[in-house]
Amino acid sequence: MSGHNSISDAYIQDLITSAVNNVCSTMVRKEATFIRRLEARDFRVSAQEAHFFGCVGFRGQINGLVHLCIPDNFAQHAASVILGMKPDEMMMQGEDMVGDVIGEITNMTVGNFKNALCDMGYSCKLTIPRVVRGINPNMEILQSSRRHIFHFDCHKESLVADIQLVGG
C-alpha cells in the first residue's frame, strides 16, 4: 500500500511535453511539438553548430537532472523575442545575456516538470540553473539514473530535453 506510484515513461513524456510547450508558447510565443524519443546512444549534438545547454536539478523524494539542449540560432531568436530586442541588438548583448535567458527558460521548464512531480506526492526542490555553451560539452550524468531524451520542434527549430531520474 502506498501513495506513490512509479512514474511511467508515458507520464514523463506527458509532463515534459506540457512543460516545454507551456514555456515556449508563453515566452517565445511559439508552440513546441513533441517529435520523438531518443536513445542515449542516438543523441548527438551537431558538430556544425554550437548549442546552449541549460541544466537544472531537483532533490528530495525524487532526484533528477534535466538538460535542455538548444542550438545557437534558436537560443538567439528566443532571447530576442523574450527580451523584446531586434536580432542585431541581441547579438550586441553577447553570449552571457543569451545564456542568462536560456538559464531562465530551463529553470521555468524544469520548474513546471518538478511541480507536477510534487503534486504527485514526490516532494522535491529545484537547484540553481547552470548554462554552458559549446559544440559538445560534457554533460553531468547521475549514477543509477533512468535517462529519458525527448526531441521537440518549435517552428522548425530543434530543442532536446534530456531527463535523468533517480527514484520514482
Binding site: 500500500m1 502506498s2 527580451l83 538559464g103 531562465e104 511541480n115 503534486d119 504527485m120 529545484l126
Partner: protein
Amino acid sequence: MKRILYVEDSLTSQLIVQRMLGGQCEMEIAATPASALALLKDRTYDLVIADYLFPGCTGIDVIIPLRQKWSPMELPIIAVSSAMDSELATRLMNAGVNACVAKPLGIQQFRSLVERMLIAPAIEGTPPAVYTITCFQWYERGAFYEYCPELKILLSGPDGNELTLRMQSVLNDHAEKGAQLGFTAREAVRTYRVEREARPDQVALAG
C-alpha cells in the same frame, strides 16, 4: 505613479517584468532579499513582487520582515517562482503574501493581477487544504480496476500504475472545475491495492 519593488536575481526575469509593467508604474529592482530590505528602510512602495529562490536564501527572508511592519492591505506582496507547487504556495500564503504566481508569467494575467493589487489589495486564493481521497484498486479477469467511492468513478485498464495516474488526473480535473469532492478541497490520492486473484506476472512465474 505607483511604485513597485521587484526582488529578483535573474536579469532575464527583471527585463521581462520591466517590459510587462513599464509605463504602468515606477519599478525598482533589488537583486537579493537583503538589498530589498535595505531599500524598504528608506522608501515606500505600493507593491512588492518577490521571486522565491535565491542563492543561499529565499523570498521568505523578505516577506516575513515586511509582514511584521505592514499588513497585506497596506503593502501587497505577489510571490513568483518557477518552483510554485501547491506546498510552496501554501507556505508563501501562510507567510503573508497576497498572491502566488508560477513562472512563466502570462502577460495579460500578470498585468491584471498587478493592477488589482495596486487598486484594491486583496488576498487571492486561500492555502489549499490537503485531504486524502482513498481509492481501491483490484485485479480481476485480466484487467485492473480502480474505484473512487467519493466520486463513484470506476476506471479499468491493463496497467495498475497507469490506472492510478489516470484516476489522479480525473480527480485533478474535478478539483480544477471546482467540483465538491465530498469532503475534499484538494486531492492527494492514496490507492489501496486489493489482490483478488493472481496477477499476470505471478501466473507467468507459476507457469
